[in-house]
């Protein structure tokens, strides 16, 4: 291999110094890393698993793996992306299903060639009103329940893209799929979630 091929760029992100301090032996700094990410990871897990117990297990297992493999982390990606790569791989290995998940996984094949629905029905209130007026506990529950009924490979994409704020490229790298594949899965997942909300007629706050 030529020297040029051996060079990989170092990503100096906001966690660069913290991670290096831990790698240099300052284990107390690991607490800072945990404090920084436990809330986000727990919420990622809760959206993926649909219940707090499984989300707790996911967070614990993720941090155990971070601690175990941090020495080998070479800053080739942002730390946050590496952290979510670990968390998603744990999610993919977990066989347990959410209590909300249907017996048989829903198929999103029907969303492959979707024609817009007839406009005879008017745009629902939830799509017209501002988010802070419409997103109450009831609607949040409808969305959360719909998310856990998505097949896992679609659920991961919509959670990483629309909820955790990763870009298409970052999501592709985390999941080791192509950006085109991310876009296809994201679009179908959004169409599915939109359909689950279609008939929601809850009261606006």
């Amino acid at each position: 291999m030529s020297p040029v091929n051996q060079i990989s760029s170092t990503v100096k992100d906001e966690d660069y110094d913290l991670v290096n301090a831990i790698k240099s032996g300052d284990k107390e700094k690991f607490r800072d890393l945990v404090n920084k990410y436990e809330q986000r990871l727990f919420n990622f897990g809760f959206k993926m698993c649909g219940n707090p117990d499984d989300a707790e297990d996911l967070v614990q297992e993720t941090f155990i793996n971070v601690f175990r493999y941090l020495e080998g982390f070479r800053h080739e990606a942002k730390f946050r992306n590496w952290l979510y790569k670990i968390a998603t791989s744990i999610c993919l290995k977990t066989k347990r299903k959410s209590k909300f998940a249907p017996e048989q996984e829903v198929s999103l094949d029907e969303y492959a060639e979707r024609e817009p629905a007839d406009s005879s029905s008017s745009t629902p209130d939830w799509a017209v009103l501002p988010v802070d007026k419409v997103l109450n506990d009831e609607l949040s529950g409808v969305i959360r329940n719909a998310i856990v009924t998505l097949p896992k490979n679609y659920r991961l994409v919509v959670v990483l893209r629309d909820m955790e704020g990763f870009t298409t490229e970052e999501t592709a790298k985390i999941l080791e799929i192509t950006p085109a594949n991310v876009k296809v899965r994201l679009h179908r997942a959004r169409l599915y979630l939109r359909d689950q909300l279609k008939d929601y007629k809850g009261e606006a706050e």
Binding site: A117, S119, L135, R190, K198
Partner: protein, 82 residues
Amino acid sequence: MSEKQHMDEHCKELCNRLSEYIDGEIDDADCEKIAAHLKGCEKCITHIETLKKTKELCSHLKDKKVPETLSAKLDDFIRGCK
């Protein structure tokens, strides 16, 4: 092909790219094509509005508080790491 059938095919084709359009991940030419279509197609306007709002609602879900049991377990783990 009738004009209506042609329109439906056109809607279907554009519909598959609406998420990319919403996310600003589409090239200028296609972006203009979709914007022009949206000016005259109520069906697609409703479609894109509901899709956009679905994305927005997902991104605004409130965070759940980390259970104390988890924080305690993580504390134990950190103490054991030293």
